[in-house]
């Protein structure tokens, strides 16, 4: 589904500073991946680059989605293909309700994918079903996007948006950070419910905590702009015990 090949990325404003230094990663349908790593290792950048953020420039390598390069596509075109990013810091848009944003988004994507668009009533039914998944009240639909939301509400809203838009490939950027245990369980439950044979999920996280509730098929550790190690769930447990230093040293030897 997604193939990242020798990806090198710098910030557009400062081409001398390379953030990703040759990332290779393959994600198949039906898989859940976890990308872990210390702060500044480049894991957030990787998710933004896949989603098409304009502040980053790919200097080398490629990103293939279903076999085709998406590097030239704008963020919205990637969303139309089914790529979704849950933001680490969701943006507040006062004056625009969750419902209006999501209906416009849903219908734009549906139109691009040749699926049927939903009228306001049909959409409301669809959105209401997804609300239960993240344990949110109906009034959530009428509230301005993220405006005045608590940190936990913002993260749940990201999962809610994912549920409504039904992406094929979702990157969840630190969606677990800043959550209390109840909220974490709700978010984890949402991720589990939404994972299926036809889609793939990538959890980008600093902590092993969420992996107690979501079982990843693959765990990758990113250090200094590269995937330093890949493995199964045991790798995450080992990291929890030994910390990232253990791999940093290892990586420098490599």
């Amino acid at each position: 589904m997604l193939e990242i090949k020798d990806l090198h990325v710098c910030v557009e404003e400062d081409p001398s500073e390379e953030i990703l230094k040759g990332v290779n990663l393959t994600i198949n349908k039906g898989e859940i991946h976890a990308i872990m790593g210390p702060n500044g290792s480049g894991k957030s950048t990787l998710s933004k680059v896949v989603a098409g953020h304009e502040a980053y420039e790919v200097t080398q390598g490629d990103i293939l989605y279903n076999g085709e390069s998406i590097l030239e596509l704008e963020a919205d075109e990637r969303a139309h293909l089914g790529i979704f990013l849950a933001f680490q810091y969701p943006v507040e848009v006062p004056g625009v309700t969750n419902k209006n944003l999501l209906r416009q988004a849903y219908n734009t994507i549906a139109e691009e994918q040749g699926r049927e668009e939903l009228d306001p009533l049909q959409f409301e039914d669809h959105a209401r079903e997804q609300l239960e998944l993240v344990d949110m009240k109906e009034e959530f639909l009428e509230r301005s996007v993220n405006a005045g939301f608590s940190g936990g509400e913002k993260k749940r809203n990201e999962i809610f948006q994912m549920a409504v838009l039904q992406p094929k490939l979702a990157f969840l950027d630190e969606t677990d950070s800043g959550l209390d245990i109840d909220a974490l369980k709700i978010v984890a439950n949402g991720i589990n419910e939404l994972s299926g044979e036809d889609n793939a999920t990538v959890l980008v996280t600093h902590y092993q905590r969420i992996l107690d509730y979501v079982q990843p098929d693959h765990v990758h550790v990113m250090i200094d702009g590269k995937i330093a190690k890949s493995g199964d769930k045991d790798l995450a447990i080992k990291l929890e015990e030994k910390g990232y230093d253990w791999l940093s040293k290892d990586a420098s030897v490599l």
Binding site: A75, R78, F84, P94, I109, E112, S144, Q161
Partner: protein, 447 residues
Amino acid sequence: MGKVKQQKERTFLQDLLNFQGSLNGKSKFLDEVRLKGAEEVRNISFPTKKLEDWKFISLRDLYKDSYELASDLDLEVPDISEHYLPESKGARLTFVNGSFSAEHSSTEDIPEEVLIGNIAKLAEEDNELLKKHLNKYVENNFEKDVFSSFNKAFLKDGVFVYVPEGLSVDVPLHLLFVQTDADTNYFTTSRSVVVADKESEVTIVEDHIGLGDNKYFNLPVVEINAEEESYVKHTKIQRDSREAIHIARTAVFVHHHANYESYTITRGAKLSRNEPRISQRDEEVEFTVDGLVLIDGDQVSDTHSVMDHRFSHCESHQLHKCVINGNAHSVFNGKIFVQKDAQKIDSFQENRNLLLSRKGLVNTKPQLEIFADDVVCTHGATVGQLEQDELFYLMSRGLNEQQAREMLIYAFALETIENITVDSVQDLLVDEVHQFTENQLDSKLTA
């Protein structure tokens, strides 16, 4: 050199006084008003950039051309019914190029206790209420202002509304000022006087529309008197032609326990200068002077407002938002006066600017002059851009760039328009925001 220039500017409006003649002989009362106005125009100098209040904009676009009086020209009037507000189907006075058009007006839904009519006719009838109120508020609020004097010098028509004590008018009154297309530059003036007597309530929509892209000089003056415990809602929409010059004065008196609420939308004109001046006339009043400016291309919009707190216990609110694209230039100067014995004043003022292009320009100057000691006045001004992260967030949800920008600009503008109670005006403004953003994609912003 300075002297020669000053001479030229001083004589510009005076030259136009030559057109006065064609207006005389219908109402002795108005003839005298105009004579007085002309006298004032001769005695007040034309503003230059050397004056603090005029330093940010140039009036060259106004005085570099010559104009004829619109009512002297025989201009064709196309169908304008698309501009009627559905809520005001039977509550509309229309003025085409400054003259009343009975054909495009209807007052059948307005309660008959309300006195509403065009000034020319009421003056011919020597109406006492008109004579009592006309000029009273503007003369008090705009002393030594050559433009309001010029409006007086050409006062021939406009709206007079008197809502009697205790009456609530539940249909919004649509005051529609249409300027037609023409090959000749023309100037046009209008006067609207709205008096809401004790415990009455009225909503007015002052609507200026330019039908073509021709150059004209539009100088409307509005006078509003909100008597004790009255409630006046006033929405002004300025959609003049993109080549027009729009210079407007609004003078408002607010009396004991009264509430004046206004929203001014500026979308048209090449150069516009809007000057609302609100004067508190007694204790315990409320007023709102919000504004939304959407300008692009080479448009210049200037808002100079005065909120004059003269008595104790007043709550005032001014949120002035501007969206600037292209080479457009926005000016805001909001003066808040709190006079010596006006205690317990709670005044809020904020000017927020959304700058969409590199070449746009914003001058903003909130100004407080407070002579009382027990007051709360907050004021602030910001200039910002659409954030790349905000755009990315919406685009990553599938919205294209046009949709995303529109949504963010709409969200920015919404705060100033969501309180407007006339639904069709809200819809119209949503369309204006849509059209405004539709033209934006060429000048893409890189934050």
